[in-house]
Symmetry: C2
Subunit: 409 residues, 2 copies
């Protein structure tokens, strides 16, 4: 690089984030970040879709938003309206869908439309790290509600909403990942979904339903979305192709009734999301999406089983977890004396990337005992070697596990 | 759409923009928005590029940012480093390039990194409307500098910088579009570029150089970029494929030395820009970009000549303009009694979309006498009919032009 003598320090915003480090490649054992399984990608089918879509539509790339307007490529919205109806019970028109650059942009648009510093949101106690960091940056207070194997606990939600009402600080929304929760992978029961909507109505609160992982349910069956069960228009819904096809596409979607969606469309001032991805997906999905997801779910379960075997072999009873009913991650609990923030650091030095619990809940202190392990992109070999290497690091740092592969360490 | 009874009014941020209207298609005569020429798109060459790129790279779509890290697809950065060197005289490495979702995101990242409410920026007097609205929203004061046929006037810039220095309000940056300025299409002379850098150095100010249109120069020759002439690292540079290939791609780029670029990379928290567009461009551009741009420039000049003919025929001496040396728009001056904000409204009602001068300068009041006419996407027929229709509307509203097509009206 050329020498640069100009000092930008005096020009930076006071709250500018620290500089990024130059990217140096993925770690050897990469168990973070929501990557997907490269072997699941159907290259030739995608190539065919690209050929067909571009062969027909390429000249429209000369126009902002091709010929579909700011809500995104119409054939993709048509696929989504049908898919959401078939799989999540949602009835919506293409006018109630906004294509976004990943579901992250959907989250940004909702926050930009609703949240000001000092506002309150309610969320599950463990929770998507990307939301936690954005709420913090926006100066928003997060009040959390515990969850169990059936999802967010409705008794605790009711108490929380009552308390916030009495304090005069009603939440701007309740954020939830009801179907394959991140990081616990729980699926909220139908009964709780109905109760959730009753409580939201009673307290006059919108719900922000994040369904990024809901295609990845092993049984292939899932309860209807909260959006589907709602009759009031209070549910804002987002989803993504990142987990079902691939995150490098950056194609997500926001679904809401027009009184809210019209605000999100106004807030989306990026002159549109990339059109070729939208065209390729719109061409590929009608004939291939369901079969692709079924195949992907099979691959993911195989990887999950390998991960669980590797954990049993290398950690034995030192880790606790429940086999998830879907998704791409496993949420593990380590013993009380394992500081997972420190473990994450020592593991990183050994080429193993994991998420520490502290990143996944604003209530969990640095030094919490949970970790999140994403298993979708690793090979069988990487899973087995990486978990063995993680057990070595953990033992070297904290003295546990004391036994691995039936051998005393 | 389903009835939605929930009222979001109480939940909205106080400064939420008004709701969007449902998109109802492009106007019949569409002379706004920076669209490009659909007939310039080389469909089969793009299809081939997509087939080759996806055939090789599709499995990497399963990984965030494919295998290139957060700065964007490496082969595209390699093309850009070579192109910027060849055409703009820029020497930079691939590590000094950040691929963005259109140059709009590049602008957002620069602003997010540098600008806080109350800050000052300096810019050319007439200026990109997308920047003007973003500065206003960010609470930033814009101090403008007049420009002439050689670009921003350096005597006026020096006075401005001196005045701001004495007032204790030095600008965070000087924003400029030196090569095919928006909206005047002027190209800053080499002499002024050198002087510009001297002044920026003297007053310790960064320069933000927007080169979105710089591929579209009829002569094929352009002065070196300010970035290329600078030796201090104070110039931040952005460009785009929107005007050279198509805006629906949403692929732009930010170029800066690492002390600044590392901040912009940190600010880009969208988990990457769409990978398929980047792959298709990286495959297409090395062999086809230059020839495509040459052909496009030929097409654009033909359209420009048709526009000028239509203006001469329908407006005669009622409009004043200079034939631009490049770009996709013509900046017109109408007589003193033509309020172009009102003209824009009456034209819109007749299916003719134009940009009024008031959108293109924070110094120009509503009712200014300039309009910007984009001619890239319209057909010959649309240009001729649309300008005739605009003359009708203008005559009906303001009584001018009094002669069209050699006939008294």
């Amino acid at each position: 690089m050329t020498a640069a003598t100009f000092d930008f320090a005096a020009q930076l915003r006071a709250d500018a984030p620290p500089p990024a480090a130059l990217w140096s490649g993925f770690p050897k054992y990469n168990f973070v970040g929501g990557h997907n399984a490269p072997e699941s990608i159907e290259t030739m089918t995608l190539v065919d879709a690209a050929r067909t879509a571009l062969g027909r539509e390429a000249p429209t790339l000369a126009m902002y938003n091709v010929l579909s307007g700011p809500q995104g490529y119409l054939p993709l919205r048509e696929f989504l309206a049908a898919k959401l109806n078939r799989q999540a019970g949602i009835e919506c028109s293409t006018d109630e869908i906004l294509i976004t650059s990943g579901s992250l942009q959907a989250i940004e648009l909702v926050n930009k439309t609703l949240l000001a510093p000092g506002d309150v949101v309610v969320a599950e106690q463990t929770n998507y790290g990307g939301c936690i960091s954005r709420w913090a940056k926006a100066g928003v207070e997060v009040v959390t509600v515990p969850l169990d194997q059936d999802g967010m606990r409705m008794d605790a939600l009711e108490e929380t909403l009552e308390r916030l009402k009495n304090a005069g600080t009603p939440p701007k929304y309740i954020y939830t990942i009801p179907t394959v929760h991140n990081p616990t992978a729980t699926i909220m029961s139908l009964e709780r979904r109905h109760r959730f909507l009753e409580l939201a109505e009673k307290y006059g609160v919108p719900i922000f339903e994040d369904e990024c992982y809901s295609d990845l349910v092993w049984s292939g069956e899932r309860p209807p979305a909260l959006f589907a069960l709602d009759t009031t228009g209070r549910v804002i819904f987002c989803g993504s192709f990142s987990k079902s096809i691939g995150p490098a596409l950056r194609v997500g979607y926001l679904v809401a009734r027009w009184p809210f969606l019209s605000r999100a469309v106004a807030a989306k001032n990026d002159a549109g999301s990339g059109a070729i991805e939208q065209m390729v997906l719109a061409e590929y999905c009608p004939d291939h999406f369901d079969a692709h997801v079924e195949k992907l779910n099979g691959l993911l379960q195989t990887k999950l089983d390998i991960l669980i075997e590797a954990l049993n072999e290398n950690f034995g009873t030192t880790v606790e977890f429940t086999r998830p009913p879907g998704g791409i991650f496993l949420w593990l609990r380590l013993p009380d004396d394992v500081d997972t923030t420190k473990l994450t650091e020592t593991a990183a030095a050994a080429g193993i990337a994991i998420n520490p619990g502290a990143e996944w809940s604003k209530d969990y202190p640095a030094g919490d005992r949970h970790i999140r392990v994403c298993y979708a992109s690793a090979t069988e070999k990487e899973l087995r070697e990486g978990i063995a290497a993680l057990a070595d690091v953990c033992h070297d740092t904290f003295g546990v596990p004391t036994r691995s592969a039936n051998q005393q360490r």
